[in-house]
Amino acid sequence: MSAILECKSLTKMYSNVTALKDINLTLGRGRIVGLLGPNGSGKTTLIKLINGLLVPNSGTITINGHQPGIESKKIVSYLPERTYLPDWMRVDDTIDFFSDFYQDFDKKKAYEMLERLHLNSKAKLKSLSKGTKEKVQLILVMSREADLYCLDEPIGGVDPAARDYILNTIITNYNENATVIISTHLIADIEKVLDEVIFIKDGLLNMHASVDDIRSKEGKSIDSLFREVFRC
């Protein structure tokens, strides 16, 4: 099967700041990829470009051969860093919503995951804590049978137990046709789960390699390498 993501000379500028410069990147299927870099490095810009929330200034980006648009949105499941669900909805309203708009949404799976977390499907989002809302969002995103999952800081603001649950969900949802991109700062926690890592520094692609290669060649963890590469 073809690569799920291809960026060719991808460039994005804001006013006079270059957020991403000349990015050339190819991601295969069935990989769990870490998108790593400090704040402002261009990670979020890349994720927004993948999801069609930004338009490139030059270069191309294709998802399974499609330019960002309706066809790509059908196969990309996006978990942003923020709470993007309307507050007035109940949990089951959000499931109906996703089910309505996404053909690949598995309602049964979503309800099962809710059960396992002892979340009340009739609860109003307004009444839930931030951590619980994030879990609901994760459930919605992972209940889709997408080809590309984009998770932006999925384990950022949650407690260690929730982190384990999230990583567990990502692993058990794995299928060899789909790729998961995880953008995060918390590298040590997710290293073991990653196949490949991408380092983005100052808008440039600094490195794209497999985790095993890095550990054998450099003899250190990705976390240590990151600290070296991005030393302040």
């Binding site: 999801n51 069609g52 338009v55 949105k73 993007y84 309307p86 007035w88 309505d100 708009f101 996404y102």
Partner: protein, 261 residues
Amino acid sequence: MLSKLIKHEFRATFRLLIPLFILLFILSIVDRIVLSLDIFHGVLEIIPILITFAFVISIATVIIATFILMIMRFYKNLTSDEGYLMFTLPVHTRQLIHSKFLVFFTWTIACILAVIAALLIALARPESISELWNSFKQVLKGLNNAMEGYGTLFIVETIVLILVNIIYQILAIYTSIAIGQLFNGHRLIASFGAYICIYLAMQVIMTIFIFTVSLVFKNDISNPKIIAQLLFPFITLFNLVMICVYYFTTNYIFTKRLNLE
């Protein structure tokens, strides 16, 4: 997909507006009851006055609230965090605009009809319908006299212009919000600023237009034929042109210049 967006849009706005409509109808019924009972004398007369006052306030509230809630709905759903949800749905950006516009327009019409209904409930008597119809016929006759037969056309054109103007207002606001989100900070203020600029620009254009027209037509400006056959259609056409400008601008901004925080 458009029907799904519309369905969702109604679900989201229904819970905001229906309570207002219900309140309006309750007050209209209460007002009617209170006005038809002749038991409030002396100091108690203040009661029917207060109730009627509340009723009138509720009418104003429903109209203003419908308008404001629909604007806030557009702003919140597309430019705040919810935008991350809406703009990653597998739909065309223009469908987002279409669905919101259709629902805004529907609620506006519903609001107008609700107010009319509420007034009838509160104040109508059996003779009211025929009374209103007779007054209407008289107005029409008088208008036709004053306007050399163009009275009916004038009324039709006025209604069309009002409807077109509602569409115009909605889209002008959408465009202002779209422009406002281009900025990185103070987006709400930027939206207001954009609206004010658009408003002033239109005022300037209208002033120039009226000035030119009065120069060209001099005395003829009060000629009903000119008004009905030229002026009103022209203004309506201008509104329609601006509607297109606003629509394409809004769509362009949300497609190519989306700037979610």
